[in-house]
């Protein structure tokens, strides 16, 4: 226990003592739908707002949410330049179904697979869907867990606040 507390102290102090410009998203390896490994620290939208949405093919509300937003996504992009990054937390059991599902529904999002939920957990996720709105500097400015019809309007209002 002492060791742990010491470790934490060390962490806190190191953090304060050496400043450096860092990417703000934690660096975890995830894959794109073609199996290419990328680091989550590299996720960005050139200074414009970005939404990271964690979903799964077995999660009904997640699919409802992303299908609903897909209908208006073109307008959102036109009006605010926002990018939605949809990260599936499907594991080996259902990961092969991600790309066919995305294609069937014609989603225009950037898609990744976080099949052992390491990025999801690093972002504090408990249950999907989880939406995180990231501003141009990489700060998380809005978090929403779960989905009810109409929630997309609130998300969009938050996105608008960032571009006004």
């Amino acid at each position: 226990m002492k060791k742990l507390a010491a470790l934490l102290l060390f962490v806190g102090m190191t953090a304060v003592s050496f400043a450096q410009d860092g990417k703000k998203l934690p660096s975890v390896q995830i894959k794109d739908v073609q199996g290419k490994t990328i680091s989550t620290a590299d996720l960005n939208n050139d200074g414009k707002p970005m939404v990271i949405n964690f979903w799964a093919t077995w999660c009904g509300p997640c699919k409802t949410e992303l299908n609903t937003i897909n209908d208006v996504y073109v307008d959102w992009v036109d009006e605010t330049g926002v990018k939605i990054v949809a990260i599936s937390i499907d594991d080996t059991r259902s990961a092969s179904r991600v790309q066919p599902y995305v294609n069937t529904k014609g989603w225009e999002y950037e898609i990744y697979i976080d099949s052992n939920k390491e990025f999801f957990q690093a972002m504090g996720g408990v249950t999907p869907p989880l939406s995180l709105l990231i501003d141009g500097e990489g700060n998380i400015v809005y978090t929403h867990n779960g989905y009810s019809p109409g929630d997309e309007d609130e998300l969009y209002e938050e996105i608008l606040k960032l571009v006004e």
Binding site: L8, S96, Q99, P100, M123, T143, G150, D151
Partner: protein, 576 residues
Amino acid sequence: MNTKYRITLKRRLLLGALASFLFVEVTAQNNDQDYGQIHGNVSVTMQQYNEDTLINAAVPDPGTAMNAFTNLLYTRGNFRAGIRYESYLNRLEGYPQEFSGTGLGYRFASFTNEELDITVGNFYDQFGNGLILRSYQEPTLGIDNAMDGIKVKVKAYKGVYIKGLYGKMRVGFDGGLINSDGIVRGLDGEVSLNELFDKKLEASKHRINLGGSFVSKFQRDEDPDLVLPENVGSWAYRLNYNVGGYSFNAEYAEKINDPSFDNGYIYKPGKALLINTAYSTKGFGIVLDYKYNDNMSYRVNRDAKLTNALIGFLPALTRPHTYNLAATLYPYAVQLNGEVAYQGNISYQFKRGSKIGGKYGMTLSLNYSVAWGLDSTINHNSSNPRYGYEANFLVPGEERYFQDFNVQLERKFNKNLKVSLMYLNFIYNNDINQGARDNNGTEVHGNIHANIYIADVKYKIDRKNSINAQLQVLTTGKVDDHGTEKLEHQGHWATAILEYTRSPHWFVAILDQYNFANPENIYRIHYLLGSVGYINGGNRLTVSYGKQRAGLFCVGGVCRTVPASNGVTVTLSSTF
């Protein structure tokens, strides 16, 4: 015996450490300098129990139970660290018995840059598809096989990724982390040919990744009778190929002999093959999966049972269902000792504006999956009497473990109305899946045949208010040779759900699960459950009251049995 890390709280020191975290957070908000970010979550589930003899709901001592955990994760530039505080006071009824007490269950620190990623303490990871190594957490089910040791990931060369790990594995929690006696060591390499030969292949439409891994576990042999292997090695090779909308993903794994409780302490080696292929284009997708598993249960403790101490992960090749009756009554559980499974999935989007598709289009999905036992013969070779059996590689046997055929239609009729209809047909081998018993301990032999019909209507009243109504009916039974229909197990069930949501903050739901055609009259019970929820950003609070049926609770193909209960449940979760 397991090594136990008891947390003897040096509270002041811990608080000091936490305060240094908070200090970082506060200064981060008041200063232009980057002091990093703190994220994490809190999740609390409390349940109060009432006695209800009719549904077999007991009241544990002290009448209430609570599972809770809090993760604190700190990120600053390339540096990350975190802890998880867990409480099981006492654990919820039905939660695995390996969880009790309150204390720290997870702590780590890691450093990452372009080439290197080092983690010390606890971590999760997966090699390839996870067949020989998957360390992960599923808190709703009580699965947590976190590693505790060191992990190094290296980007050795462009397109070449190597990771190595060495440590113990979490096998329980009792006021603190309980690690395995045994040790797990692993090495995994993956090569992206397109990145490696970027001059030639960068622009190629063909994407190829190759991978290989080796895992070894060490566990002392303390068996008085058997000579057990103390080091058990396993290895796997994988290929991932994509071109256009086509993908092919295969992994083959082997393991040396590994006598265990699962396999009855036989000395046969194990092997597994997993293949996923898919093709999709706009509006259409098809997936075909195949899995062969022969004796690939791989645990850090050879005597462990159920979901405890597993190193490898063997996925169920069935569609993960979410509708109440389909998900909880007869869900398939993976058979670690051996199975041969197939799955096919087709989805098709009827175009917008077409006659069938209507203004918004309509989606049709078809799914079929089946799992068989191995085609095996008992080994009579006297030179190695404990070899167990011989199995025909890749070939299914004669005993069917599970079959699921389902079809779903989803159509949006107008801006506000969405309807989904689904039909499912299960053949569920209860001898295999539940050991010829049910959740109440009653003997149930042979196959259960179930048909499930689901109608799900979502109606958006206005911008903020909407209603979801579901009606689900499950019938069991089969027409016998004499043309009479015979009920199976608990007969027919129906579930009705009515949910009202007011975005973005509120929901109210009522669920009635009714065993309307139980063969015995007194068990024709309504399981009524009401819930109210409040959501604000990353925070959710739900309060439910009512009866919950004994049954299987599954997430992502792994299930645990939940006993019947009657009482109040409060869940709070917060992501920050």
